[in-house]
Structures are given as structure tokens and as C-alpha cells.
Symmetry: C2
Subunit: 98 residues, 2 copies
């Protein structure tokens, strides 16, 4: 299992609108090929930064299938105006779960 | 729910030993006050870096209760020699799970 970690800095004052946008966009992820769920977290030490964690079967399910889909454009339309910088996106592979 | 994210760079060639150390240490986390699970992930874009994600009820369960416990010393004894740098540790609060 692959976890996409997107670190997203949000413009001050637009946090609630961003969170609402993520809620609206959640079905786009959940119907994407190979997506097994998405969660939104807010960094305690830096509350202007959120972490969106998306579980995928493969990196390509994210970087090829989803990124090239209309739903990706819709995701960015719903939330992109709240970003204060380009998100930092990485992937990690689950090694073990205890 | 709080997620501790520890980014841990591992000395080249010691990845398997580190993973085995995490497996040995998992019970230390699972018996810690307020701990609800731990998972180990390896960064795809930078395989020398792991992410340890630990679910806690509160930040203090990690930073006060666990950090001051003998089990934290044991955790570091099991895996610390494999670190190539001091881990980067942050916490995030779950906003929503879809």
C-alpha cells in the first residue's frame, strides 16, 4: 500500500473554506482507481499547514491515473485557491502496521 | 486523534536491521498510555528515509508520558544506532477521515 503525503500551506483565514473544499472533494478521491481512502490532518506545530494522506494501491494510481483525470482538475478547482504555495507531495510504501 | 510523524534517515545498508528493530519495539508503543497504533513507511522518492506514524490520544501522551518513560530509552536503544541524523518529529491533529 502506498500513502501519498501532500503538505499543503493554506492562506491565513481560509482554513475553514479549505476544509470544506476537501469534504466536497472527498468523493473524487474515493472513486479514483486504486484509492482506498483519504484523511486530512492539521500540523500542531504549524497550524497553517495541513497534511492530506491518500491511500493508493500504486504510485501510478495517483501520479498517472488521478493526475490526468478530470477529477484532479475538479479537486484543484475546489481547493487550489486556498493554497499559499505549491503543495509538497511525496509517497511512502507501508512496511509494517502494528 | 493525534498522529506523530517521525521522519527518520537510516544509514545505508542498515535498513533491514532498522525495520527489525521497529518490529521488536512495537510492543513498547502499543502499551504506552494513549497509543492507538504505529505504522512504518518507507519514502518512495528517498528510500533512505522512513516515516514512523504513531497514533496518540494527545500530544502529551507522546511528548511527556512516552518520552519520559523507560520504554522510550529502550526504543532508542533498539533502533537509534541505525539513524544517520536526528529524526524530525511533528504532530498533526486528524480533521477528517473519508
Amino acid at each position: 500500500m502506498i500513502v501519498e503525503t501532500a503538505e499543503i500551506s493554506i492562506k491565513a483565514g481560509e482554513e475553514a473554506a479549505f476544509e470544506a473544499g476537501v469534504a466536497s472533494a472527498a468523493p473524487l478521491f474515493l472513486r479514483a482507481r486504486g484509492c482506498h481512502g483519504v484523511s486530512l490532518h492539521r500540523v500542531v506545530e504549524n497550524p497553517g499547514v495541513y497534511r492530506l494522506l491518500v491511500r493508493w494501491e500504486t504510485v501510478d494510481n495517483h501520479m498517472v491515473d488521478f493526475r490526468n483525470s478530470d477529477d484532479f482538475q475538479e479537486w484543484r478547482r475546489l481547493v487550489g485557491s486556498h493554497f499559499s504555495a505549491a503543495p509538497s507531495v511525496t509517497h511512502s510504501r507501508l512496511v509494517a502496521d502494528y
